[in-house]
């Protein structure tokens, strides 16, 4: 319990750091970014929006930085992330809440599948050294070096086309309206298959490699020899003794790698024009839509923190040594 509270405190601290970082980044932009945006949008921005921009960039001369900071936090707590330029005057929070579920489902499900699949294959490769599984290693090394988005491009090139089952872009058929019905859901699943496969292939190899290495390391521990000496079945020794222990560092690795994986998956969304936050971020970048960019960064960071917390809870359940009394 103490461990859990410590972790929770740490994540709250990190969230605070991320928010603060987010507050300061636009203030470090040299020159007058608002003016350049105003000229860029030539009269399309209302005076209200321009004022909001000055507040965002800290060019609001009336307030000192501390007051701005407090105001920023107040805004955050009321769920106000500012207004997007590209979809003016839609609030950023609205845009994010419409795209976040797509990302959470796609990235969440594929990351979990990838972790389990890769860990499973890693157990095999580590336990049966010298068998066919050794052949997996060069392949996985290569695949883990391929950028996610490039693999997505190749997948689109090879697997999509006018007659293909796989659509090359989007999250659902353009003729459909998002709803939980028998038309929309199959279409959404069909559209997510290829992006999911891309993420799966490029991320699974990392898990295979790390799990294999942990299995090899754990296999020479004394308790493995004891398990063999006890006459337990090979399966029991491999799973309950070797894999069970090798899993621990892999789970903490899972938490630490999430940031990397999320970064990669955002790019896959861009390639597939998948309606998630990654694609949204791409559009925001093109339009210098700072409020949207920052909102997305914040939401990604918080999602990763929550996922980390979940991984910590999993670790807590898996390793009795962290469950010390008191």
């Amino acid at each position: 319990m103490k461990y859990f509270l410590q972790r929770l405190a740490f994540y709250l601290f990190t969230a605070w750091a991320a928010v603060t970082l987010n507050f300061f980044i636009p203030r470090m932009i040299p020159g007058d970014p608002v003016q350049s945006l105003v000229t860029k949008y030539q009269g399309q921005l209302s005076s209200q929006a321009i004022e909001a921009l000055y507040v965002l960039f800290g060019l609001d001369k009336d307030a000192n930085i501390w007051q701005e900071y407090v105001a920023y936090w107040k805004q955050l707590f009321s769920g106000d992330l500012g207004l997007s330029f590209t979809f003016f005057p839609t609030p950023v929070s609205e845009i994010i809440s419409s795209s976040l579920p797509w990302t959470l489902l796609l990235v969440g499900i594929t990351t979990v599948i990838s972790f389990f699949l890769g860990t499973g294959l890693g157990i095999l490769a580590g336990w049966r050294r010298g068998s066919w599984t050794d052949g997996l290693l060069p392949v996985t090394t290569f695949l883990s070096s391929v950028p996610y988005f490039w693999l997505g491009i190749i997948a689109i090139y090879l697997l999509t086309g006018p007659d293909s089952f796989f659509p090359s872009s989007g999250g659902f058929d353009s003729g459909l309206v998002p709803a939980w019905d028998q038309y929309f859901i199959p279409s959404a699943i069909q559209h997510s298959l290829l992006p999911a496969l891309t993420i799966l292939i490029s991320s699974v190899s990392g898990w295979i490699l790390s799990m294999r290495n942990m299995m090899v390391t754990v296999a020479s521990e004394d308790y493995i020899t004891v398990a063999h000496a006890k006459g337990l079945t090979d399966r029991r020794v491999a799973m309950s003794y070797a894999a069970r222990n090798a899993l621990l560092p892999n789970v903490s690795g899972f938490a630490l790698s999430l940031g990397f994986i999320v970064g990669g998956t955002l790019l896959v969304e861009i390639v597939f024009s998948y309606p998630g936050v990654g694609f949204q971020l791409f559009q925001a970048l093109g339009a210098s839509d700072y409020p949207l960019m920052q909102g997305i960064f914040l939401i990604i960071t918080i999602s990763v923190l929550v996922a980390n917390l979940l991984a910590d809870i999993a670790y807590l359940l898996l390793d009795p040594r962290t469950r010390k009394e008191g």
């Binding site: 020479s220 004394d222 000496a229 006459g231 898996l318 040594r321």
Partner: protein
């Protein structure tokens, strides 16, 4: 002497293959009799642990058994060669007939499972029909036997002290009532008081349950006290084997004498402590002849040329002991 329970015949174990091979155990012949405690002593690198793991085929890669037989005599059954068993038969043999208490109990227990799980999974593997209730009852019984309160069943290894963990390991070793228990430096990591307490308890259990023990340690003083017979290993070979008292009284091999001279006597007259000059041989480049001769204070001409065979010496108690040394004429080789 009583009947044999385990006979090791010309066991050879190497690490690696071909030119790279390091021969860690060389032509070892050793017999363990029913109910006895056989001590196995030697410096580190002498091959004593390799011998113990080799005879149950537990050596990790790159260890290979390059030759020999390990004949096991079950209680009232037909004798068989352990090294010729199939994987499934070997799994059944393990723990049922020979159990091992490992060096350093710190890492011998799986850190993520409760000790109850680790005690009962042996029972499950060897007798799938046993009910969960009786498995747990048996595990409790074993804990009580080694002096641990059965309410520690649900403890994790990290919640136990070093001594308690080693007791759990002993209880685990006895849970299937094996004929042979191999103890590899079982108490080295513990303090002296705990050492004696645990060993004393073990001897008592042996008298009650009647198993035989192969007790491996570099601490000859412990062996003199706790074992019936002692075999001394050097450079992968057994150089002397005799009743514990005989070794203590008059060791025939200069190496045994050297080992005895390096620890203080517990009883009897004071002796001067001496070490053995030089260092253990490099297993990759063994000296020719008797491997001890470069360090031996009594080495003479034949020692460098030929390997002495382990045989019965011509001393009055020669029938009960054997030695491999050119100083001691032997009437007949032991083993075959």
């Amino acid at each position: 002497m009583s009947e044999p329970v385990l006979e090791i015949r010309n066991l050879n174990v190497a690490y690696g293959l071909g030119d790279q091979a390091v021969r860690a155990v060389r032509d070892v012949n050793l017999t363990l009799h029913r109910g006895e405690v056989l001590g196995l002593a030697g410096e580190s690198g002498s091959g004593k642990s390799t011998l113990a793991y080799g005879l149950t085929r537990l050596l990790p890669p790159p260890g290979v058994i390059t030759g020999g037989e390990v004949i096991y005599h079950p209680d009232g059954g037909e004798a068989y060669d352990v090294l010729a068993l199939s994987d499934a038969a070997l799994r059944r043999f393990r723990w049922n007939e020979t159990a091992i208490v490992f060096q350093g109990a710190m890492n011998s227990l799986n850190p993520v499972h409760k000790i109850s799980t680790q005690l009962t999974d042996v029972l499950k593997a060897h007798d799938p029909r046993m009910s969960e209730h009786s498995r747990n009852a048996r595990a409790r019984e074993m804990l009580k036997l080694v002096g641990i309160s059965p309410d520690r069943m649900d403890a994790y290894p990290h919640q136990l002290s070093g001594g308690m963990r080693q007791r759990v390991m002993i209880g685990m070793a006895l849970i299937l009532q094996p004929q042979v228990v191999i103890m590899d430096e079982p108490t080295t990591a513990l303090d002296v008081v705990m050492q004696r307490q645990i060993l004393g308890q073990l001897i008592e259990l042996r008298e009650r349950l009647g198993f035989s023990v192969i007790f491996i340690t570099h601490d000859l003083s412990l062996l003199v006290e706790f074992s019936n017979r002692i075999a001394i290993m050097y450079g992968g070979r057994i150089v002397e084997e005799a009743p514990a008292a005989a070794i203590y009284r008059d060791a025939l091999h200069p190496y045994s004498a050297g080992l005895l001279g390096s620890f203080p006597a517990l009883r009897g007259p004071r002796r001067e402590l001496t070490g053995i000059p030089g260092s253990p041989p490099d297993l990759k480049g063994m000296p020719t002849g008797c491997s001890f001769h470069p360090r031996c204070p009594k080495a003479f001409d034949p020692c460098a040329g030929n390997i002495p065979v382990l045989g019965r010496p011509g001393t009055p108690d020669g029938a009960t002991r054997s030695v491999a040394c050119w100083l001691h004429p032997t009437a007949q080789p032991v083993g075959r």
